[in-house]
Symmetry: C2
Subunit: 432 residues, 2 copies
């Protein structure tokens, strides 16, 4: 049993009972077994004793919507009209992606995420075995899913469905339970209804949740109405998607009735503020969703539409834009934004005992260096995390009690090799 | 003559002619004397030769609206209704601020700004001699002004006016020209018309520009109409404020006619996206102002309403929110946002030869460490600066050819002492 003591620390727990604890935390194997102010018995034995002074400890961040491999196209064709960007820059290059591209693109993203304090993420992409292997090596948690576009000939559809099922079966519960899987028809506007139904059936067979893009743009909502006579929420409900535990990404354009339907079916929403702003999709009705009791979390989407994977920034955007757009200075307060980025994210992807610092929780946590100007004065650490911190303030990262980052250095994957290979794959793709 | 060569660098120049240059830059005293691809004659003598590989060089950032001393109240009473925050948290504590508080609060902000790549800033506050001394010590540029609230008895008004005039006289052109001054009635809603007129007269006498808050909230615009029968732009125009070179902060709520009036008088606008969102003031019509040809720049406002002084974040917010709110994915592209944060900022505060990297320019520049995941692939450095970088990526900072930050370490002011004193002042203020 590995036993670690962190002493003299400040712990932002993301619990109602004790939001900030000053004292020490003990980790035994993969769990937090003590968190409090009590002095430790000097005779007690530990494998490691860490001085936590000048550090702030908090739960690891949970990114509930990403396409990690797309970091390979970060900054490639920004500031173009949406269709030009997609049709001339993204799709032709993504179509060329091999397993190797996905491997190095995903590792580039994982490197950025773990060094920046993200301990769990959702990934929806292709060549998912490569993504799963990268997650396994890195020590992160991944809730992974083969995202399938259904507008293709029947044999290709069937091939994609089988691939998605096989991946979900092969990897669910693997990497010591750090990997879970979902079933993902890409979106209502990219999949025929019968294709979506087949994925729902497979999810029932495998007892897995569903993930999909939904109502990201107004155009797609209007097209859905035109084609199927229903807006996306009712359309997906009718196809049975919400009969499975579900998490939908974006949900920017919703009516009151749709918010009620999502709540009724207990659908989780991954809010992607950075991506929604950059792609000019609009501003999701997050305060209304929260008021309705919907479980909302945060996602970065891919680096091609963000353009980084800094979850502190997504928390800050969530806390800022809904105030500015609604005119209500208490919309999405820092405390709420911090929940969106941590415990709500964990609950959204059905991770038990993840997302808070509390006794019995999984030891998925991070440390920030608070000995810096932008963390002073020591007034309100929740406020500082949300309104002032960034990924670059993270010094140490643990998942399942295992340290992945120490003093800003990644311990599990080879940073230099990943940076080199990612750049090389980009050059091969875009010069080829 | 001190002569420095930076070789093997990537230079984002913020000029139309050569946006990105790979090669070397030579600084002689306070000026850039060479920037290009040419190999250097090995016989040429330099006082210092810097290896710029793995670095990206760009002009220093210019923050055109700040109240630096207020960092002392960062995170103190966030997420409250605006009037509660102002009346119960900010104003009572600011009223207690002594010169010492202003000194250490300002130094805390300057420390954060220079380490984060901001080389010039506008400061509007009280106890301005302390601010000027802090700027002088730090090596930054400051465009400084005693902001005066005019709703007070005549003798206090007169005292403030004299103080503002004296400060502007004493410090304009000081610190080797790094300090300039302006005249600042705080805002139309906090100053009687005749008080504003007196400041305009003083600015004429002293040949100085004007700075004021304007149209930050809708409430204040409507009150102005009710009280004076004019919206703030026409009100200030009528009082003669725009007869001086002027920069107004916020300008969130503007009509088309007001935009035309600002353009007609060549009024500069400091856009403060982070603060405007956090205080729920709204979203300024930046794309419309830019279309009208108004010189727009960026400000952080104080850390009490932001809550950091990261100008990369302000550039990113400017590039993101106007896309999301307008529905236009090409609104405020990265290239434009970068101009807002650099050359436009410099022009806005009448700094000649600042804000670009070009031969003959002042050597006010910064270096970012690009050997990191979020700067890969090497696709588009302008895009990476705006959409992916943060203050924490800055490694080196120069102003007037003098190095202020080296490898992330501040060379001019004492970081440890500033952090200690700022925390102590906060405790004295809020426990007292």
């Amino acid at each position: 049993m590995a036993k670690t003591l962190i002493q003299n620390g400040t712990f932002v727990t993301v619990t109602e009972e004790a939001p900030v604890v000053r004292g020490c935390m003990i980790i035994e194997d993969d769990k937090i077994v003590y968190l409090g102010e009590q002095e430790r018995d000097p005779a007690e034995q530990f494998d490691e004793i860490v001085d936590g002074s000048r550090k702030l400890y908090m739960p690891g961040l949970v990114n509930t919507h990403c396409h990690a491999a797309m970091s390979l196209l970060r900054g490639y064709g920004d500031d173009l009209a949406l269709q030009v960007w997609l049709e001339q820059k993204m799709w032709p290059n993504e179509a060329k992606f091999t397993g190797e591209d996905v491997r190095w693109g995903t590792l580039l993203s994982i490197l950025e995420m773990i060094k920046g304090g993200t301990t769990s993420f959702v990934d929806m992409y292709d060549h998912m075995d490569e993504v799963a292997k990268a997650v396994e090596e890195s020590g992160m948690r991944g809730c992974l899913t083969r995202g399938a576009i259904g507008h293709c000939p029947p044999d290709v559809q069937e091939h994609k469905r089988r691939e998605a099922v096989q991946f979900a079966k092969d990897w669910h519960g693997k990497a010591g339970g750090r990997i879970t899987t979902m079933m993902s028809p890409h979106a209502p506007y990219t999949c025929p209804p019968e294709f979506i139904v087949k994925f729902v059936e497979a999810a029932h067979d495998l007892n897995l949740p569903m993930h999909t893009h939904m109502s990201e743009t107004l155009y797609e909502v209007l097209e859905n109405e035109k084609q199927y006579g229903l807006r996306p929420v009712d359309h997906l409900a009718k196809l049975g998607l919400f009969s499975r535990p579900s998490i939908v990404a974006h949900a920017v354009h919703l009516t009151d009735a749709e918010i009620a339907t999502l709540k009724e079916h207990n659908v989780h929403v991954s809010h992607n503020p950075g991506s929604n702003l950059k792609l000019a999709s609009g501003v999701a009705r997050v305060p209304d969703m929260l008021k309705a009791g919907i479980l909302v979390s945060l996602g970065t989407d891919s680096s091609a539409s963000n353009n980084n994977l800094d979850m502190f920034e997504e928390m800050r955007l969530a806390a800022l834009i809904h105030k500015g757009v609604s005119g209500d200075p208490v919309a999405v307060p820092a405390k709420e934004a911090l929940k969106l980025g941590t415990v709500n994210g964990a609950k959204s992807i059905w991770l038990d005992n993840v997302g808070t610092l509390s006794v019995g929780s999984k030891a998925d946590f991070i440390a920030l260096d608070t000995d810096q100007a932008h963390f002073l004065p020591k007034s309100d650490y929740v406020s500082h995390i949300v309104y002032s911190a960034s990924a670059k303030d993270v010094t140490d990262v643990y998942v399942d009690g295992k340290q992945l980052v120490r003093g800003g250095e990644c311990l599990t994957i080879d940073e230099e090799k990943i940076k080199f290979e990612a750049q090389r794959r980009f050059e091969l793709l875009t010069n080829g």
